[in-house]
Amino acid sequence: MVNPIHIVSIALGVAFALGFLGKREKLALGIVYTALAVMLAISASWLSHFWGNVTEPIQIFTGGFKPPFAINLQMGLAESVFTLLINTAGLLGAIYLANELLKAGKNMMIVFLVLVLGLNVMVMTRDLFNLFVFMEIQSIAIAGLVILNPDRKSIPAGFKYVIATGLISSLLLLGTVFIYYFGGTLNIDFISQESLLYVKGGSVAIFLVLLSIVLELKPFPANGWALDVYEGAHPGIGALISAASATAGVFVLDKLMVFGNFTFFNAISIIGAITFLGSNLLGIKQDNTRRLLGYSSVGQIGLIMTIIGLKPYLGENTKFIALAILLSHYLAKAGLFWLAGMVNADKLKDWGAIRGHRIYLFLMGTFIFTLVGFPPFPSFFGKWQLVMQLANNHHFWLLAIILIGSFFEGVYLFRWLGYAIKWDEVEQNYPKIKLNQFIPTVIFAVLAYALGFYFGELSGYKSTFIYMAAAFIAFLYIFDFLPVFVKNTLAIGAMALYYFANQDTFHGLTSIFFIIFVIGGIITLLAGYTFKGKRTGFYPLVMMMFAGLIGLLEAKTTLEFFFAWELMTAGSYFLIIRGKKSMEHALSYILFSVGGAYLILSGFGIAQIGHTGMGLDVLKDVHYYAPIAFTLMAIGFMTKLASIGLHIWLPGAHAEAEADVSPMVSAILLKAGILGLVMLFLSMGPQKLFGIDVLYVLSWVGVLTALMGNMMAAFQEDAKRLLAYSSIGVLGYALFGLTMMSHLGWLASLSIVVTHFMFKSLLFLAIGGVVMRTKTKYMYQMGGLIKQMPFSFVSVLIGIIVIAGLPPLTGFGGKWLMFNAIMENGWYFQAGIAFFAGVISFLYCFRLIHTIFLGQPKDELRNVKEAPFWMLVPQYIIITILLVLSALPNSMLKPIGQILLNYFPDGALVWHGQLAIGPYGYWNGKLILAIVTIIFLAVFAWLYIINRKAQKVKQFNIVYAAERPFRPETTHFAYNFYAPYQKALGFLVAPGITNFWDAVSDGAHAIADKIRSIYNGNGQTYLAHILGFTVIVYILMNGGF
């Protein structure tokens, strides 16, 4: 094997040799590339050497003497990994900076080589003074790179960088010297920790050394200088700083932690946590791209510092977690900096220029999702393991800080992604893709996926279904140029194949959801045929969402469940943001989902305590804090269910989505929340939190959601928002059913969930067709469409009859079951409000159908054609199913009853054919339908006989007090349809909750604005920060702890 010292020798040799090359820049650049490639090869060879078997790191002696008399380098498994990372970043960074290197000439190349050299030695050296020297070299090199590649702002930033790192290195030198003065040796292995710590000066020296390493990693209050460099420097250099030098710094900190005792570990983790939370909080106020990336990278490094600080608690997991998060930071941050270099838009909003550019958005999406920790990237598994370990060690405060910090990170990253996908106030210009900048970014993106897969394997995540789905999504992404009907058939075919493949693998409650997700998916996908052209990017996202949904069902362990949950959120986020004006709604959707996901994650964490395995059945016997875990997870699932208080994302997200995405998101996606709650309630059962029964509180939440949802829906002017609010109402109803924990309660709620899927997709498809034809969502602009769109009218009519629960159709079944269930368990007041809400649903049902289909047809809509054929096909499939269920109610309710028997044995329904006999009453669906139809036909015949030749008249033949109606718009009563109702009960729907959430976000922004004012751009204040930070930490460490 080649001796690792050659990394140093090649770098130094080439650096000096460049001097003699004279004017031939191109040749010089070629040599630099080869040198970097060789260094990379050496570290790669050593990595393969240490990979499987050898564990003992080898020592490299310099100057012929053995330590402690000479400097020795060490190359073990850890060192080989880190040198490999540094060298890859160096090589790819050099390729990225090719033009700058050529332009700036040889000396920039030399400085670049010196930088990579410095980082390599920092990782390998075992000598303290040598470490100081090469840290100093590395910071000088970075400052050199900045000055050699000037633009207006980078020079002052470079200056601040130099004076700051100069001060920090001097502190390190002071510490090192005094360690020598007391310990007698400078070699890290020989500095025995016991002797030094208890000599008066020794502990100060150790403190100085460790603290300067921490300062080098830019801790929160004292990192103004770093942020200015990130903002000022060329993105290529920024990438190097954030990826390579931060990685080296973290390794050095981990290497030197052997000196510190317990207080040092605690201090490090606290500093790291504060940095992570603080910098992410300030991040939400940023609007400059590079500065934002600066904040984010400082935050990530803070997180890794915390993990290193927690070494005594995490034990052997630290390596896995630290590496996972470091790798995702390394890949994503370098990638985003390079992307920023390619797009070079300073303001976040200017990134709107690349909206619609598939490749850029794919790269950006990958890097952002890697950073935030979405599946399938390594940070997802890292964060999962971190949360599990923290929960196990009862570090709940630290867990909360980390989750809140990553939530803030999600805020500004998704807002930025939203701008890039959707901001249309900036005209579109796609920057020309330069090959040398493009290749490194793509490599890092591919690495992100590969490492994600590797870390998945490591953390024991083996879900064959998800891998198949991932392959199918990749396949669809590659074949995105195919026309729509091919891809649509492919998607439906895959779903159908999956359905038949494991029709019998699911039994019990999951089979109901299995039918809703798969059959529902197929039906709503049928509407996809209406779209022409290629509809780029739609089908991979749809498949991702459905993969996530079905993954929920297939999940055996909590990790698989959470993986699928996040996948579903990612897929649905991208689907929603495709809508025209859906940017801020998609943002609020993803933020609520991420918040909810973190609650579920912490809930799983708490539930895991004391367990080794990660099976879903772990929820059955939770040892510690079961009620808290239960409440956290319940709230988490309820964010997806949009219960009251957590609902403000739903109307915007569902209304602004595309015509066939709304039914998918509204009818199918919300059921994931129900599935979660079903699983939660079944496994953990009723819980008592601070003495109050959580389920009782949830029943009130469900009922109030139903009331609020239906009440809001009645006052909406926009048809799709009306349907969105009605979804909130019906799901509140279903939640109320679930909280009853009785056979009938669950039967009612599950039947409502199934019927809700059907009538909601029916209505959303119908209204989608209407909106597609009339190009407007506002109901008062439509009117009298019954003559042009009779089929849509019939489907909306049947939809509203089912929502309102009118007897002949199946909606009434849900209401009847609910009535009996309430009788059984005695929650009468909730029942009163629930039925009041049920009746209010009647208001918005009529408003929907009257303002759109009846009343006066408007001039513009006179010759509007019927909804596209393929929108009607799924509608009429659903209508036939609804009618069949109305005629034969037991075809659905009996099987569900059987499934529920093994969870709630007593209180089942007794079925005689179609007559259901419950504890309090009975109901014969078939007979009611038969009777009503017979009477209907009899009365119709009677009216037809006495009213045969009626004269057909047009719209203005009305008795208008002997006057002639002015215009159609003035004679169509649609705007503010329930004005008196609003006058009487309007106070109920005052936007209290939206104001609350606005106040929360404004408060966060205000705090961020106040804190970030400490970075006032003046170099000297940054120096004062560093010194202040040192003094305060010293005082706290000695006095405080």
């Binding site: 003074f129 020297v133 100093e136 070299i137 000088i140 400052a143 050199g144 000055i147 000037p150 207006r152 702002k153 020079i155 002052p156 930033a157 470079g158 200056f159 130099v162 004076i163 100069g166 001060l167 290195s169 001097s170 030198l173 002071l174 010297v177 020598y180 003065y181 400078l186 200015d228 903002e231 000022g232 106020k285 970030r1012 004012s1013 970075y1015 006032n1016 751009g1017 003046n1018 170099g1019 000297q1020 120096l1023 004062a1024 010194l1027």
Partner: protein, 124 residues
């Protein structure tokens, strides 16, 4: 009180005083060049401290030549390690100061002002 009067202690004391003066200069001086001077003062102070550590009573410089033979070197010379360290530290100090002055020159050419407060456009 007596044991503090040794030469070694006095040297280290002056070194620390220089360090504090340098620090004070860096923190308070608005003029960029004064700031760089402050930094170099800080650096020399540090070097003096390093050298003062190597003091051994009535020993000579650790250069092995005719005057000091290899055999009895261990007893007669001062502690060689800090001497070596100080050499590198001085060189690095030089390098950093040179880089700082290069920056100051480039910043002056940019904005024609030596006051540090005028270079605060990168902030928040």
């Amino acid at each position: 009180m007596a044991q503090y009067l040794t030469l070694e202690f006095i040297a280290m004391l002056t070194g620390f005083i220089l360090i504090i003066i340098g620090l004070w200069g860096m923190i308070t001086q608005k003029n960029l060049i004064k700031l760089v001077i402050g930094f170099s003062l800080f650096d020399t102070g540090l070097n003096i401290v390093i050298v003062s550590m190597a003091y051994v009573k009535n020993s000579t410089a650790p250069i092995i030549d005719k005057a000091v033979d290899v055999s009895q070197a261990a007893s007669k010379i001062a502690d060689p390690v800090p001497q070596a360290l100080v050499l590198t530290s001085i060189v690095i100090g030089l390098g950093v100061t040179a880089l700082m002055l290069a920056y100051v020159l480039r910043m002056y050419r940019e904005k024609k002002s030596l006051d540090i407060n005028s270079y605060t456009d990168l902030r928040w």
